[in-house]
């Protein structure tokens, strides 16, 4: 177990270094020129040079990268000579745009992304697995065909379509739900959990429509396969009630691929639901990352990219641990 954790932690660090280096390199190769952007309207060559020094962009590429990475392990000084300020550990740099600490920007955006991710996840897992299981149990019936049909419609509806449609119907026409506000970024805030649910309900539904389609199909296929397994026949031959055969013996064995999918999707979504956040104007990680990338804000882009990679890797480890908990055959010695 200890070896497993060490091995996973090692590969986590290696991957983060790789991801950060690739992002850094791509940024250098791209057209973004943060110095002239920071310099403003009336820009002279001297002021651009000043800005370059202030942003630390006067150093060679590799030195810049190492400077940045050093901040991840210890505090470092940032800014123009004479006007430097300390960036406390963990230093993710300062925004080229606002000169704000990137860690503060992340801390401000993450709750929005979490709010979207948590609710959407619960919604699509329940609807996806539930409908998939129902379709498997009623295989070949009209219910099954309807669910499978709905799933293929759902999977082909992109977020901008569903999102705008939901906004149009429920907010604009029926006035059933409020338009999303930036004031609510958690279930336990001053507005209470109910306001949180109402505020994020439409983004959840938009994501759930898209994601649950895949869950329906995977659950259905795997459950149909599992229900035809010999051990299900054994369970019936023991005289067990259908409910126990289905849930205790069937679902436990058939659900493992769904766990994998769920882990991957959690990891992806925590890195920011870019389209959903754009459509519903939620200033989460995805929203922030897009703005940073457009304006050439390297430290913010770097931080969010690495955070997204971190979530994906951690989710992977969580999936492995969940597998071991579910299936004794993969349990660690």
């Amino acid at each position: 177990m200890t070896r497993f954790i060490f091995r996973r932690a090692g590969s986590l660090i290696l991957l983060l270094v790789t991801v950060s280096f690739i992002t850094f390199t791509l940024f250098q190769l791209g057209p973004a020129d943060p110095a002239s952007a920071a310099c403003g309207q009336e820009c002279t060559p001297e002021r651009i040079t000043e800005a370059r020094v202030a942003l630390g962009m006067d150093h060679p590429f590799l030195i810049q990268y190492l400077d940045y990475m050093r901040g991840l392990v210890s505090p470092r000084m940032i800014g123009a000579p004479g006007a430097e300020s300390i960036c406390q550990w963990p230093c993710l740099g300062k925004s080229f745009q606002t000169n704000e600490n990137v860690s503060d920007i992340i801390a401000r955006s993450l709750p929005y992304t979490l709010s979207i991710a948590v609710g959407a996840l619960v919604l699509w897992t329940i609807s996806g697995v539930g409908l998939g299981l129902l379709a498997a149990l009623r295989k070949g019936s009209a219910t099954d065909k309807f669910i499978v049909g709905a799933a293929s419609v759902g999977v082909s509806l992109p977020i901008p379509v569903t999102g705008l449609f939901l906004l149009l119907v429920f907010v604009n026409q029926l006035h059933l739900l409020p338009f999303t506000t930036n004031e609510i970024n958690g279930a336990f805030g001053p507005h209470g959990p109910w306001a949180w649910v109402l505020n994020y309900f439409l983004p959840w539904v938009a994501l759930a429509v898209l994601f649950s389609a895949a869950y329906i199909r995977v659950t259905r296929t795997n459950m149909i396969e599992t229900f035809s397994e010999d051990f299900i026949r054994t369970a019936r031959a023991k005289g067990l009630a259908p409910r126990i055969v289905t849930f205790k013996h069937g679902v436990r064995a058939g659900i493992t691929p769904v766990v994998t999918m769920l882990g991957m999707d959690i990891g992806l979504l925590l890195g920011g639901a870019v389209l959903t956040e754009q459509i519903f104007s939620v200033p989460g990680l995805g929203f922030t990352a897009v703005r940073a990338a457009i304006s050439g804000d390297l430290p913010v882009t770097m931080a969010i990219t690495m955070l997204a990679a971190f979530f994906v890797i951690v989710a992977n480890v969580a999936v492995d641990l969940a597998y071991a908990a579910i299936d004794p055959r993969v349990r660690l010695q």
């Binding site: 051990f231 054994t234 019936r236 031959a237 023991k238 005289g239 067990l240 064995a253 055959r329």
Partner: protein
């Protein structure tokens, strides 16, 4: 001796046999048409007796057993006929009642113990679960019963083995565990569907001995489904030979082996390799079994039968022979017994 007479429908319940199967048929609707997996099976069985059902793959052996277990209820299968088990008709019994019989009165052992055991639960849990379904007992009592049963089926240190998973067990041990699971409620009828097929030859004999031993202890009836005639000769009291979903020959085990009446059974016996035979090649029955979608009008074995011409008038191809029983030995053939006797002696 096991009664293997096809009884007339008039003598319905009065015979009081332990298990009485009459005109049992199973059909599966498919996109290509109706598949007749089992066509009018008749047999009966008493407690303490062992009936062997033999036949090649697709002859309807397993489907027959699943119909008896009621495992086809709730599927698209159409089961007709009667299967009276202690007076209750297993064919028409509703699923809820059938469930009470399964595991408690009728136990079942399957072919591949690795896939038949649930990979995510310990062997002990699975056996205790079978006990708990039909007995009001605490978890602790169920565990004790399961440990005891594991010991009875010859698993060493059952207390420790209880907490191990199926993948920790060897093939033979797994099948012993399956037997423990099937027998923990001491069912009066045990159906074993090819219990030794997936096992090592050396382990096969142990498993068969164990089953016979436990059967004698509990005086239960055993239906042994197999394609291994050697197994049949070793443990069965009577035999039922299936072909194309029909019983082609049935009777006491000695009669089937030494007074074979049906050309198909003859073919089966001839195709068996023997230790002292000098032949270097096996003697298979030529041809393929008939399609169950479209069974021939006449005798279902006629297309592969070497002796079909002997019956004359093409009767084998035009009329399906009925099961003719003489002295407990039934056969479904147009040839009369004298003709068969001549054939046996000249082969």
């Amino acid at each position: 001796m096991t009664q293997l007479q096809p009884s007339s429908p008039a003598s319905a319940n009065e015979t009081g046999a332990f298990l009485e199967v009459r005109n049992l048929s199973v059909k599966f609707p498919t996109d290509d048409g109706l598949v007749s997996a089992v066509n009018g099976m008749d047999f009966s069985l008493e407690r303490g007796q062992t009936l062997g059902i033999v036949g090649e793959s697709g002859s309807g052996k397993s489907v027959t057993s699943q119909a008896l277990m009621g495992l086809l209820k709730g599927t698209s299968a159409q089961v007709t006929g009667q299967a009276l088990f202690q007076g209750k008709d297993l064919v028409t019994l509703p699923e809820s009642r059938m469930r009470q019989l399964r595991g408690r009165n009728i136990g079942m052992i399957f072919q591949d113990p690795l896939s038949a055991l649930h990979p995510f639960f310990t062997v002990g849990e699975q056996i205790a679960e079978a006990y708990l379904v039909h007995n009001t007992a605490s978890k602790k009592q169920a565990r004790a019963a399961a440990v005891d049963m594991l010991g009875r089926v010859g698993i060493p240190s059952p207390e420790q083995r209880y907490d191990e998973y199926p993948h920790h067990f060897s093939g033979g041990m797994r099948q012993r565990a399956m037997i423990a699971m099937a027998l923990i409620c001491e069912p009066e009828l045990l159906i074993a569907d090819e219990p030794t097929t997936a096992l090592d030859v050396t382990v096969q004999a142990q498993i068969l001995d164990l089953m016979s031993e436990l059967q004698q202890e509990t005086n239960s009836a055993l239906i042994l489904i197999t394609h291994d005639l050697g197994v049949v000769a070793e443990v069965c009291d009577s035999v039922l030979v299936m072909y194309g979903g029909q019983c082609v020959e049935s009777g006491p085990v000695d009669e089937i082996f030494y007074d074979t009446q049906h050309p198909y059974t003859l073919g089966l016996l001839k195709s068996m390799p023997t230790l002292n035979s000098s032949a270097r090649r096996l003697n298979p029955i030529p041809g393929q079994p008939p399609s169950l979608l479209d069974l021939p009008k006449g005798c279902i074995f006629s297309a592969r039968c070497d002796y079909a011409a002997l019956a004359g008038d093409g009767v084998c191809a035009s009329t399906r022979p009925g099961l003719v029983v003489e002295g407990g030995h039934g056969t479904r053939c147009h040839l009369d017994r004298r003709q068969i006797l001549t054939l046996r002696n000249t082969r």
